[in-house]
Symmetry: C2
Subunit: 226 residues, 2 copies
């Protein structure tokens, strides 16, 4: 019976119901918002594809207009600056990664089982790429590492979040006694390094690279010597 | 007493002595060649800096002309196409890498000592970057992995050569009984993955990353259990 189920009054609408309600409930203005959200999604989907192939530096309002058939002015109205567009593309890619890798692994129990589930979903993510140029993070971090600013910050936040997920599950695995005590920070660095290298090699045609990364990571996830 | 010390005759010159002799020995035409070689070096030095920062895709005759103060037409005459310029930049970066990392390590004996010397020189190479954007190979392979063609081939050849150097020394280390038998291909993949990740992290401001990579690699270079 909370505020989410209360009827929409003129007053609550005037106070900004648009932020509280799904857009389909509040009439004409919100149809425009909905259209905006759809356009945003089309543009960002194209932007992350281009960025995974050519790098975030190469996305532009003009090229995105050409590729999507939308007007350049319309895209510019939505994103204002190239930097906002780039940061939005990182955010969008992050959400797709969560949907493809993190969320489906949540059904596995914490610890080694969850880690293996994450790696399995990551392998599918890398081998049947969600983005035209493979792993978005790997492709763009190597590119933006020397460029301080909001885009690099967004990429680093995304990487930190991914590292945090792996670290938490390594912690659970140690706690459960499934693997021997290990330097979690070092293991996370190693696992991500192997996945990034596997992605690059895979994109370059080396189909055995993901298997190599998995074999090395499996070597980290072994039972402690009794 | 070989052909290299024979006097230059009109005939040998007509047969193409320029290819056989250092350019400073054969007069006016070769002064022009020498100037060409110098220009080439200036352009390529600038090109690898830009490519390590922005990616090989972003180098152009126009920008290089602006950055070096040379004429765009002159640069275009030297390199003909952007692709030739990109491949030449990869070659140039490869030579600088050999001078900075491979050659100075040659004074160390084969095996673990040579591996450690390679890693020491690589660390200096990564920490006081030879290129504005850090490791040229790491920055550009992640970028060009999805683009088949001569540029990617040049980058992959360069990577294969580097992998070959590490593999050979791991082989020596096993032969010398300095480290336990290991899957050399897997270890090479792992070492390069860690160095690439360390380079990206270092460029992004994580000064501890190279140390992490070194600690993990040192873990591979341990004496066999007796």
């Amino acid at each position: 019976m909370g505020s989410a189920t209360e009827p929409v009054t003129a007053r609550s609408s005037a106070l900004g119901s648009r932020a509280l309600l799904p857009p389909e409930q509040s009439g004409v203005t919100d149809k425009r918002l909905l259209r905006g959200a759809r356009t945003r999604k089309i543009v960002l989907r194209q932007a992350v594809d281009v960025a995974s192939l050519e790098g975030l530096g190469s996305i532009s309002f003009g090229h995105l207009a050409l590729a999507t058939g939308l007007s350049k002015a319309g895209i510019q109205t939505l994103f204002k600056t190239k930097e906002i567009l780039q940061v939005s593309a990182v955010e969008f890619a992050r959400e797709l990664f969560i949907d493809a890798v993190i969320r489906p692994a949540r059904s596995a129990p914490h610890g080694v089982a969850r880690l293996r589930a994450l790696l399995d979903h990551w392998t599918v993510y890398a081998e049947t790429p969600l983005f035209a140029g493979g792993c978005f993070r790997a492709a763009n971090l190597a590119d933006f590492d020397s460029h301080p600013g909001p885009v690099r910050d967004a990429l680093l936040n995304d990487q930190r979040e991914w590292h945090g997920v792996i670290a938490a599950e390594l912690g659970h695995a140690v706690e459960n006694g499934e693997i021997a005590e290990l330097d979690v920070e070092l293991a996370v660095f190693q696992i991500d390094a192997l996945l990034c290298a596997a992605n690059t090699a895979l994109q370059a045609g080396d189909t055995g690279a993901v298997g190599k990364a998995r074999r090395i990571i499996d070597g980290l996830l072994v039972a402690p010597r009794s």
